[in-house]
Symmetry: C2
Subunit: 208 residues, 2 copies
DNA sequence: TAGATTGTTAATCGATTAACAATC
DNA sequence: TAGATTGTTAATCGATTAACAATC
């Protein structure tokens, strides 16, 4: 798939464009200029045009951008035009919250199993039909079930130990909620959500 | 409090320094050079020295940095040396997960109340002693209870409507988990955790 | 003291913004 | 066609890295 030196900063902005375009679609807006989008999003029109042009000429001079088309194209760039098999490792509060959040989004991200060291502990208050398996069975599960993404919501030490198992099991991406950096081989990728860092950034801003 | 043109990029890195220093402390490491820290964290030693020097000369030539001292200083910069009164708005899975996560961190972030449109719905499966109040009572609660931070974990539309209420109630910072940008007056601050954007960034990386 | 390592300035690199010709 | 707006190059700005004198 096309890549070609797209900077991290640009990738980080794409989902936000996508979100605003989705809102415009919901409002029934058919077309938008970079200047119009710029006003809504509080970024420069120049940046919008620059960003979008890295991926191709989605606009039309004198007209602007077709909202639905641009929404779809950005969706494709982000990989939202396909299905993903997900598992969640951990069955604590955060794991379950993230698991149901993902399911709720109703995109192609399908949560198919939970794993926990003690699967019985949590089974009772699951109101959906997804099973909680013992962590021991993870490697075996991955042999039988093609899995694209593993959500990690267990303590740091446990999280690090999971990486080789997930790698062997063919998992491509990790969505990491543990408070640790995870080293993965080149053919895998990690996206981390550091809640404590986010809270610290907030407390910094409150005090300065 | 001292600020003075510290860039966003630097602030974003401080919690990570803090985390690594905490780990070094746990291991009993007393001092560390920028080069040593650089190897562990995968950033340049130059950047570490540059970053730290924005806040003062924490190091010593020929010696490096005292781990415990640097840890404390960065903690102070981040505002971790004081107490915060928190409330959580929303009592769904994500709200409860974040609420207990914050409490679990055992820093000065004290979650003191939950609010929800329908407080009865969720009361039963709360195993901690924190109360869920009806959302109607939020303004009244804030009158009686000094509150520093509100965690928002409700749908986007509801989230936006909360801002003026929180502002009137003297809340200083919002930790936003809703899928929307929140506009706040200058004397308030927002830190957002966009879960769906994070997941999209992961799917982008998987496909490229 | 000699060696190590910071603090800090200068050089480089990358990202953002401005400008405008191309074109719908 | 004339007006609007993109695509794209050039200019600016900011952030990162390199270098080294200061100093513990």
């Amino acid at each position: 798939m096309y890549n070609k030196g797209i900077s991290k900063a640009v990738i980080n902005r794409l989902p936000r464009y996508h979100r605003y375009l989705g809102m415009l679609m919901d409002k029934g807006v058919v077309r938008i200029s970079s200047a119009g989008l710029s006003r809504q999003m509080n970024v420069t029109a120049s940046q919008i045009r620059q960003d979008l042009n890295l991926f191709g000429g989605f606009g039309q001079q004198g007209y602007g951008y077709n909202v639905a088309h641009l929404y779809d194209e950005i969706g494709k760039i982000l990989g939202l035009d396909r299905e993903y098999h997900l598992i969640v490792i951990g069955a604590g509060r955060l794991a379950r919250a993230v698991g149901s959040y993902v399911g709720f989004q109703k995109r192609g991200f399908n949560v198919e199993a939970f794993f926990d060291r003690d699967p019985r502990k949590h089974l009772d208050d699951f109101d959906d039909s997804i099973k909680v398996y013992p962590l021991d069975s993870l490697a075996g599960y991955l042999k039988d079930h093609k899995t694209d993404i593993a959500v990690i919501a267990v303590p740091s030490d446990a999280a690090k130990q999971l990486v080789p198992i997930l790698d062997k099991g063919g998992v491509k991406g990790i969505w990491n909620f543990a408070r640790t950096d995870l080293q993965v081989p080149d053919h895998m990728t990690v996206q981390s959500v550091y809640l404590s860092e986010s809270l610290m950034q907030l407390s910094y801003k409150i005090n300065h």
